[in-house]
């Protein structure tokens, strides 16, 4: 325990001083903590730390092995890049939420038992919701609430699963569940845990929260969100459910689902969000296949994905930051004023598309090769098709309509320097991983016996991608973005909530009807007499009072409404603070 510093605590406790610092001291501090966390992860030795007993259960705060180190490494690197990108922000709340969010993600990655995992799991949901609320304005607040609702529901399902899993097995230690080989199939609790996990991984039909909320988050918040929630879910699935056949098919469907929706999308960050769904599909499929090579592929793809997806979100975020516009139908011609942003975005686009010498090439191919080695021809074909779709949208359609295409004569400039530096850091890593994959391969949970740079593989990738480009050039006329939104599974709770409200209001309306019927037949004659008597009094005194009250209510209502939007963010901030406090208590009790 001596040389183990839990990086989650570093972030969560490190969030507390942020509001008390200002200016360049705060900036230095915001970079210092992620840098320290990277060092803490590098210095980490595999082992178990912080064993304790809590309500009669074994607790293991931190279990370090190769799988958790892969994710922790990229999480801390990403935290540093994300902080650089957000450095110009003066809003302490967002910085704190980002810290707690990253810390909670790291807490999940090292959690050795389900209770610790659950605590941090919920922490992630609340802290990330703040990053949506912080955008302010009606659509963001509503999307934030939907996001929170979905995650709270998922959390309850997960907790139910954890409890029934604990009752069935007598242990809450977090480890491999599935396979069904060792412990005779999965119980109800295990399925509930799986459901909770795949909700966070945004597996269809539980994917809509992601594409609903991420485009509504703040420019810098979305960068953090694109990295942590889904990849934490990938980690826990890789830990608990490798080799679960269901995941192979869910992952494959997911990879295509994301690219199909991406064709229809007009909002640039929502398009990218659908590509998170698609890319996470490769990881889920890899975990489902469950061979050493496939799990390696999933872990390395998560590593590469976090960096290039953040780079893409940073690029789109820079455009939104500079122009204030987010729809492809309203963007175009920005390459003249933002050439650096274009170039950096394209590095991310080439990396996600798996061009040779970019990071996606050395990781995505590992998943596909693992599917091939496992004799799953259909999966190989579907994932290859999704690769084509990835390049079509992220590499061709989005940059074409955002940066090139019709010149909308927008006033634009390059984004602030810290944003460009952050994008540069991510871009360097995307290329470095692609050119020198060995350090990443050495980090993976299993020994790697895979060579991405064979002549056949390089030529296959180039053929696939460049002829996708040919398809794009020939059918550009069919791809023009349209001013629409796409129905996804969030339809059920967005329209469903309305139906619920209607149901709730109907009995109320009937009751009202009945009351007015009674009053018309029986009470009315009586009231008429009383009314005449009261009229004189009314005219003289009461009217003035009523008018006064009505006026003050009108004013108060307006003020209340203004207060409310503020209160939402404060409310979440309070929860985040409460969470930090809970963690502190937890740590003290553990000591």
């Amino acid at each position: 325990m001596t040389d183990f510093i839990h990086p989650a605590l570093l972030f969560i406790l490190g969030a507390l001083p942020i509001p008390f610092l200002s200016g360049s001291v705060r900036k230095a501090y915001l970079l210092l903590i992620p840098a320290l966390a990277i060092l803490a992860v590098l210095a980490m030795e595999p082992g178990s730390y912080g064993e304790a007993r809590f309500i009669g259960q074994e607790i293991l705060i931190a279990k370090v092995d190769k799988l958790s180190i892969v994710f922790a490494t990229v999480f801390t690197i990403m935290a540093l890049i994300g902080m650089v990108y957000a450095l110009h922000l003066t809003d302490a709340g967002q910085h704190m939420a980002a810290f707690v969010y990253v810390g909670s993600a790291l807490g999940v990655v090292f959690a050795g038992d389900y209770l610790t995992l659950f605590l941090f799991w919920e922490g992630m949901a609340f802290a990330s919701a703040y990053l949506v609320f912080a955008q302010r304005g009606g659509p963001a607040i509503r999307a934030g609430f939907r996001y929170l609702m979905v995650h709270i529901t998922g959390g309850v399902v997960l907790l139910g699963g954890i409890i029934s899993h604990g009752l069935a097995t007598g242990s809450l230690l977090f480890g491999p569940i599935a396979g069904g080989l060792t412990n005779g199939g999965m119980g109800v609790g295990d399925y509930l845990i799986l459901a909770g996990f795949i909700l966070n991984a945004a597996v269809p039909p539980l994917n809509a929260w992601l594409t609903d909320a991420y485009p509504e988050a703040t420019v810098t918040g979305a960068v953090f969100m694109s990295a942590f929630t889904t990849k934490t879910a990938v980690y826990v699935l890789a830990r608990a459910f490798p080799g679960t056949e269901l995941l192979v098919w869910l992952g494959t469907i997911m990879a295509l689902y994301g690219v199909i929706y991406a064709v229809l999308e007009n909002d640039c960050r929502r398009l990218l969000a659908y590509h998170i769904v698609s890319q996470v599909g490769y990881m889920i499929a890899g975990i489902g296949i469950g061979t050493e090579m496939a799990v390696n592929g999933a872990a390395s793809h998560a590593f590469a994905h976090i960096l290039y997806k953040a780079l893409l979100f940073m690029g789109a975020g820079a455009v939104i930051y500079v122009t204030g516009r987010r729809k492809l139908t309203e963007l175009g011609g920005l390459y003249k004023t933002m050439p650096l942003t274009v170039a950096l975005y394209m590095v991310g686009a080439l990396a996600i598309s798996a061009f040779p010498f970019f990071s996606g090439f050395v990781t995505k191919s590992m998943v596909i090769a693992a599917a091939g080695a496992d004799h799953r021809a259909l999966v190989v074909l579907a994932l290859t098709m999704a690769s084509s779709g990835t390049f079509l949208h992220t590499g061709l359609k989005l940059p074409y309509y955002m940066f090139f295409g019709t010149d909308r004569k927008l006033e634009a400039r390059e984004p602030p320097r810290n944003m460009l530096i952050a994008m540069g850091m991510a871009a360097v890593l995307c290329i470095a991983i692609g050119v020198f994959p060995q350090p990443l391969y050495a980090l993976l949970p299993y020994p790697v016996d895979f060579e991405p740079y064979t002549g056949l593989h390089v030529m296959e990738s180039l053929g696939l991608l460049m002829f996708t480009a040919l398809g794009f050039v020939l059918f550009l006329w069919a791809l023009d973005p349209e001013q629409t939104i796409s129905l996804d599974t969030d339809w059920f709770y967005r329209k469903g909530a309305r139906a619920f409200m209607w149901l709730a209001e109907r009995p109320l309306a009937r009751y009202e009807q009945a009351v007015s019927n009674v009053s018309e037949t029986a009470a009315l004659p009586l009231l008429h007499g009383a009314a005449r008597a009261g009229l004189r009094l009314d005219l003289a005194g009461v009217d003035a009072v009523v008018n006064g009250i009505a006026h003050s209510i009108l004013h108060g209502g307006g003020r209340l409404r203004r207060l409310q939007t503020g209160v939402v963010t404060h409310y979440v901030l309070a929860m985040v603070v409460g969470l930090i406090a809970a963690t502190v208590v937890f740590v003290v009790a553990w000591r």
């Binding site: 996708t468 040919l470 059918f475």
Partner: protein
Amino acid sequence: MIKPIVHFFGDEQYARPRRRLFYVVLVLIVVADFLVSREHAEYLWDSLPGWSALYGFVSCVLLIFVSKFLGHRVRLMRREDYYD
């Protein structure tokens, strides 16, 4: 250095050399695909030169038109104020 490259892809005046470069690359890829060693071909299609080019093109076209079909005919695409 970055600026001229970005402008090469954007400016109208380079449209012709851009297109020419693109077609040359496509031809080179197909030619190279015939020359590359195919000892490790796992599936039938791996041993066909030009397969990945064909598959990429077909995938791209399929994705565009299937998605647009779903968007327009199955009515996945709605007006922006649909939920308001």
